[in-house]
């Protein structure tokens, strides 16, 4: 009969000496597995007398309990130590930059265009689009700019070398889309037209042959100049702040009558005077051109000017961006320097 007490002592010693969970499990197999002395002792039980069997049974159970308890304790300790080691080894310096390419930035002009468009979408406008290489009929004739009109020359048009029934031009404004909408849609009409336009201007800090406008057009029965003012005031406040005022100044555009330049009160200097880089102390900043749609434009586009009236306006996106963000060189918008692109 095995000396269980000695085995037990050896087993508990083995558990104590195990330094890893693996060694611990080896000891468990050695002392309690199929070929262990413990199992052998259990096997020998049936050869014993009832008294001896009882005593041996108790001894075996005691061995098992002691072993299990020691095993569990030791295992918990070893597992905890191993986990501790692992965690220590896995420590990260979370102040390192995360090595993922972060999202890029939308172009400043995209942000401004979307913002302007969204103001009008919120007011119930749709967004209309048109081609950038455009028929002169839409760009000029239907906008009440006949071939000999001075405005046609003043617009510094770039012409495309394309044969056709009328000249083909790089659109000089987004207004031809007004004509495209009015010739295909019955009132009520309310659209905004964001888009790229072109002029034969040499590139310098304040001139660009390419720039962006947002055109607006609303036509229905009974539309008034007061509606124009209210709409532009709403727009100015949405873009520049709830305290802004607007001011309309008489002007002249071939496609509107009456016509008005629109100034917004300067929010950059709060009337601090001539030092203001934005308004030069006038307190007002010119932001857009507008007016009541000229009856000749309505007629040319197939809308009865005796029944319908409307207003139109055009905002320069670069101008808004330059005012709001202090961009001083219009070339920056088109050069693609990542330092500029990523800033906004």
């Amino acid at each position: 009969m095995a000396d269980l007490a000695a085995v037990q002592e050896a087993a508990l010693a083995a558990l104590r000496e195990a330094s890893t969970v693996g060694e611990l499990d080896e000891a468990r197999v050695r002392f309690t597995g199929k070929r262990s002395e413990l199992v052998a002792a259990q096997g020998e039980m049936r050869d014993l007398s009832p008294d001896e069997r009882k005593a041996q049974g108790q001894a075996i159970n005691a061995f098992k309990r002691a072993f299990e308890e020691a095993y569990e304790t030791r295992r918990d300790a070893l597992a905890a130590a191993e986990l501790e080691d692992r965690l220590r080894g896995e420590r990260l310096d979370l102040s390192l930059p995360p090595r993922r390419v972060p999202p890029g930035r939308p172009h400043l002009l995209t942000q401004v265009l979307d913002e302007i468009v969204d103001v009008f979408v919120g007011l119930g406008y749709r967004v209309a689009e048109g081609p950038e290489v455009e028929s002169a009929t839409y760009n000029f004739d239907l906008m009440n700019i006949p071939p000999d009109h001075p405005a046609r020359q003043e617009m510094d048009t770039i012409y495309a070398d394309v044969e056709g029934p009328s000249d083909v031009v790089l659109r000089t404004h987004t207004s031809p889309v007004q004509a495209r909408v009015m010739t295909t849609t019955a009132p009520p009409i309310a659209v905004v037209v964001p888009g790229r336009v072109f002029r034969a201007d040499a590139v310098d800090a304040t001139h660009s042959p390419v720039f962006h406008q947002v055109e607006g057009l609303l036509v229905d029965e009974g539309v008034t100049m007061a509606d124009l003012r209210g709409t532009l005031l709403t727009f100015a406040r949405a873009m520049f702040g709830p305290e802004r005022q607007i001011r309309l100044r008489p002007s002249m555009f071939p496609f509107t009558e009456p016509s008005a330049e629109v100034d917004v009160s300067c929010g950059f200097c709060s009337g601090q005077g001539e030092a203001c880089r934005v308004c030069s102390g006038t307190g007002w900043i010119e932001i857009l051109g507008s007016g009541m749609v000229d009856p000749a434009v309505l007629s040319a586009c197939g809308i009865d000017p005796d029944r319908y009236s409307g207003f139109a306006f055009g905002v320069g996106a670069e101008r808004v961006a330059m005012l709001r963000h202090g961009v001083t060189d219009i070339r920056e918008f088109f050069e693609g320097d990542v330092r500029f692109l990523a800033r906004f």
């Binding site: 930059p97 995360p98 090595r99 993922r100 390419v101 999202p103 890029g104 930035r105 939308p106 172009h107 002009l109 979408v121 007011l123 119930g124 406008y125 749709r126 967004v127 048109g130 081609p131 950038e132 290489v133 455009e134 028929s135 001075p150 020359q153 003043e154 770039i158 495309a160 070398d161 394309v162 056709g164 029934p165 010739t183 309310a190 790229r196 201007d201 660009s208 042959p209 390419v210 609303l218 008034t224 100049m225 007061a226 003012r229 209210g230 001011r247 309309l248 100044r249 008489p250 002007s251 002249m252 009456p258 016509s259 009541m292 918008f333 088109f334 050069e335 693609g336 990542v338 990523a342």
Partner: protein
């Protein structure tokens, strides 16, 4: 138009207003003030002196030592000019005086010039900002009082208000016209010009009969006065100053007077030397094609039969309304002057001026319509000045033709005006009085106004024009702010929303958005769907901008170059914009299956150049982020493909027919296929054409090393371009089937890895297809995870490993299912020349 304040004051009393008040009133009511100039501001202590003596500087060839006096005290100074002599009256900036400087006024001190002390200086016109003249000092009129402050005699420092004249207000190209407008704005009287009656003696006979052609009356009126005994010489200083303030150069008294009267009245005049005309009769007629005339600027002009001319007995003497002829112009010896003022057809003058690229002060005014009542007034005014300033004697006058009819009366509904402007309280009486301020005659009958505009307001022909006048004078600031009562349903369309999503997708991948100028030169790289087609420009701004961009790739590569030049280790950018190809270009084959929103036409249906929107990407060098770069990790073509796949997935229709998988599956016909291709400038082994629904819609590739080097770019450089119209057009109109939810399978899933070995030429797409086919209905998801080449596979062979996730909606899968799938994948592989890897 430059308006000196004192000249304006001559016609309308504005003395009670400050300059700011005046400018504000003008700006807010229709006179756009561009700038207020203050020429000569900062001048003080400049006095009139007479030259008593002068002699050469003892120690400098080009300087004179001059003695001047104010009548009592003599002063010595040094002067570099040589245009004066003893007895001349000059402008002396004394010691302690100031003259205008570039920024700040300059103060004069006694200064030694090569041993002689100069007590102040004698001023030129330019030094006092009184004109451009810097050839010599100012020599004033003989009878100028001595010792007077120059500011008392000349408008030194006087405000000159520059008005931006609106295109339809030709009448504002004159002091009188501006004064009329200011008077209307302020509701004040205009002090008009009163001129003498013409002499009774008939002047030069003039024949206008040939100028009527169809509807066009080339010349409706022609006034010509003959003035004799004229002495041509310099104009008095006040006149030269007036011209200088308005930016017109003084020539001699005769020419200066015609210019002065033109500035004052808006009526251009021309002065002929009567003795150089081959008389007696003048004929106004259309030129014969091919006739020529040497104009005042000594240019020979070849004329067409659409040009109006004035001819004497032998030849053309003036290009009507644009410029006089050189050999009948007034010279120093002229004594007999014919002053001509006429009313020309605006359109004719505009066309001639434009065709010859010859814009004069006269043509600028005539093409914008000159008041037809002004010719006799202006000629009389100029003749009087010739008498006063050049010793002339008025001897005869001709007045041919007749004054053009005044603008027709317009009937105006005052109630409509009030509604249209949103000024409901603005009654007919108020409207009538506002219009009368603009010199309209107005008859009121209830709410109906009958409005007869004055002769100079040809722009007032319609009710809307009059509504503007009323609103302008009443004050735009008094129009209330209301919102339109229009029933609207607005918002972005589905394609517009999709376009924004598309942009967000690309941004999320780390690309910055670029907006370029869409012009290219001759040697641009090809992008999507190559073609030689270019939309050339007739008047390009530069040689390297001769055509509209047929691709965005070229512009993006220039952006990348610019950033490489800035020393950036890596750059990733994109642009979403239109490309431009001639109508009928090869690119249309790629677009035809996808609606026609990209097709734009002239009103008669003629197609305009094709200008579809494309998305283009370019990435170069290392991946970087804020504060780090990944050494050795460069952008590659797969990065671009990942973006493009995400873009397509973001807008393509979901596979509504797939009722089993919980994952959002795309309609399988909306997958962007990649077909290896070769393109100039691209890496032959790393370039693919992108095909969607059977048509080529884009390209992706790495720049050829030689091309990268040619462009001075650090490799690698990868670019892609994709037509987005096909992605957006399918969202138009049709009712999209909403994606339906499916019951999620609850039975456990099983994962199986398979590796297929095949020749390099067998594409991954084919191998994946085999795996999918083999797994059949049990397949829930498939992942590619490894590509392997090695000796045990053999030369030219590779292995592709994929993990399959299997699941059945109605039972738990067993090992038998897994084995069955692997066997089936093996069978499918054999069909395409692949085998399961052992």
């Amino acid at each position: 138009m430059k308006v000196p304040l004192s000249w304006l004051q001559r016609f309308v009393d504005v003395a009670d207003l400050s300059l700011d008040e005046l400018v504000d009133a003008m700006s807010l009511h229709g006179l756009e003030v561009e700038e207020v100039h203050l020429p000569g501001r900062g001048t003080s202590g400049v006095r009139t002196k007479r030259v008593v003596a002068w002699g050469p500087h003892p120690d400098a060839d080009k300087l004179r030592v001059v003695q001047v006096t104010d009548g009592t005290t003599e002063t010595e100074l040094v002067c570099g000019a040589a245009n004066f002599d003893v007895g001349d009256v000059v402008a002396h900036a004394e010691v302690g005086a100031t003259i205008p400087g570039r920024d700040e006024p300059l103060r004069l001190e006694a200064r030694e010039l090569r041993g002689v002390v100069s007590n102040g200086m004698l001023c030129s016109a330019r030094e006092l900002q009184l004109g451009e003249d810097h050839d010599g000092i100012i020599v004033l009129d003989e009878d100028t009082p001595l010792g007077a402050d120059l500011a008392e005699l000349l408008p030194v420092g006087e405000p000159v208000i520059e008005v931006a004249v609106l295109a339809d207000r030709g009448d504002h190209h004159s002091i009188l016209g501006i004064a009329r407008e200011v008077a209307a704005i302020l509701d004040r009287e205009v002090r008009g010009l009163s001129v003498e009656e013409p002499p009774t003696a008939g002047g030069v006979p003039v024949d206008l009969s040939g100028t009527v052609r169809g509807d066009v009356v080339g010349c409706s009126r022609f006034v010509a006065w003959t003035v004799e005994d004229v002495t041509v010489g310099p104009s008095p200083w006040w006149l030269r100053q007036r011209l200088a303030q308005c930016g017109v150069r003084a020539i001699n008294n005769v020419v200066d007077i015609t210019n002065f009267v033109m500035l004052e009245t808006g009526q251009p005049l021309h002065a002929f030397d009567v003795d150089r005309l081959h008389g007696p009769e003048l004929t106004v007629r259309w030129a014969d094609a091919g006739e020529t005339l040497v104009t005042l600027d000594d240019q020979e002009r070849e004329l067409l039969d659409t040009d109006l001319v004035i001819a004497d007995a032998d030849r053309i003497v003036s290009l009507a309304g644009v410029m006089g002829g050189a050999d009948s112009e007034v010279s120093a010896t002229t004594t007999r002057v014919l002053l001509e003022g006429a009313t020309w057809d605006p359109l004719t003058i505009r066309r001639t001026s434009r065709r010859l690229n010859l814009v004069s002060e006269a043509s600028l005014r005539f093409e914008r319509r000159v008041d037809p009542a002004m010719a006799p007034v202006a000629v009389a005014r100029a003749a009087e000045l010739l008498v006063e300033l050049a010793g002339g004697r008025i001897v005869a006058a001709t007045d041919a033709g007749e004054q053009a009819a005044p603008p027709p009366a317009v009937t105006l509904d005052a109630a409509w005006v009030a509604r249209f402007l949103g000024l409901t309280d603005l009654d007919a009486g108020t409207q009538a009085s506002l219009l009368r301020r603009e010199a309209c005659e107005v008859a009121v009958d209830g709410t109906t106004l009958t409005v007869s505009p004055p002769s100079w307001r040809g722009d007032l022909g319609r009710p809307a024009d009059l509504a503007e006048e009323i609103a302008r004078l009443y004050g735009y600031e008094r129009i209330p702010a209301t919102m339109p009562a229009v029933p609207l349903q607005g918002g972005l369309s589905r394609p517009q929303r999709a376009e924004r999503r598309l942009r967000e997708t690309v941004l999320a991948a780390g690309f910055h958005e670029v907006r370029g100028r869409p012009f290219v030169g001759d040697d641009a790289l090809e992008g999507v769907t190559p073609s030689d087609g270019r939309v050339q420009l007739t008047n390009p701004l530069a040689k390297d901008a001769a055509a509209m961009a047929p691709t965005l790739v070229e512009g993006l590569l220039q952006v990348v170059r610019r950033n490489v030049g800035q020393g950036r280790p890596g750059t990733a950018v994109f642009e979403l914009a239109r490309i431009f190809r001639p109508a009928g270009d090869a690119v249309e084959a790629s677009l035809k299956g996808f609606g026609d929103g990209w097709r734009w036409t002239d009103p008669d249906g003629t197609p305009l150049p094709t200008q579809p929107r494309v998305l283009a990407l370019a990435a170069q060098g290392l991946r970087t982020g804020p504060g780090w770069l990944a050494e050795g990790e460069t952008w590659d073509v797969y990065d671009l493909l990942a973006v493009l796949d995400a873009v397509v997935a973001g807008v393509a229709p979901a596979d509504a027919s797939n009722a089993r998988s919980a994952a959002r599956l795309l309609d399988p016909t909306w997958k962007l296929e990649r077909h290896a291709t070769e393109r100039d400038g691209f890496h032959p082994g790393r370039t693919a054409a992108l095909v969607l629904r059977g048509v080529e819609v884009g390209v992706v590739g790495q720049l050829h090393p030689a091309e990268a080097e040619r462009r001075d770019l650090v490799e690698p450089v990868v670019v892609a371009e994709l037509l987005v119209e096909p992605l957006l057009e399918h969202l138009v109109g049709e009712d999209l089937v909403p994606v339906q939810a499916v019951d999620l399978v609850r039975h456990p899933a099983m994962t199986v890895d398979v590796a297929l070995v095949a020749d390099e030429s067998v594409s991954y797409a084919a191998l994946e297809g085999a795996a999918r086919a083999g797994a059949g209905d049990l397949l829930d998801e498939l992942w590619f995870f490894d590509e392997y080449r090695g000796e045990q596979l053999g030369e030219g062979q590779r292995s592709i490993a994929m993990r399959l996730r299997l699941q059945s909606p109605d039972r738990q899968l067993t090992d038998d299912d897994a084995e069955g799938v692997i066997a089936a994948v093996g069978r499918e592989a054999e069909v395409i020349g692949a085998r399961l890897r052992a």
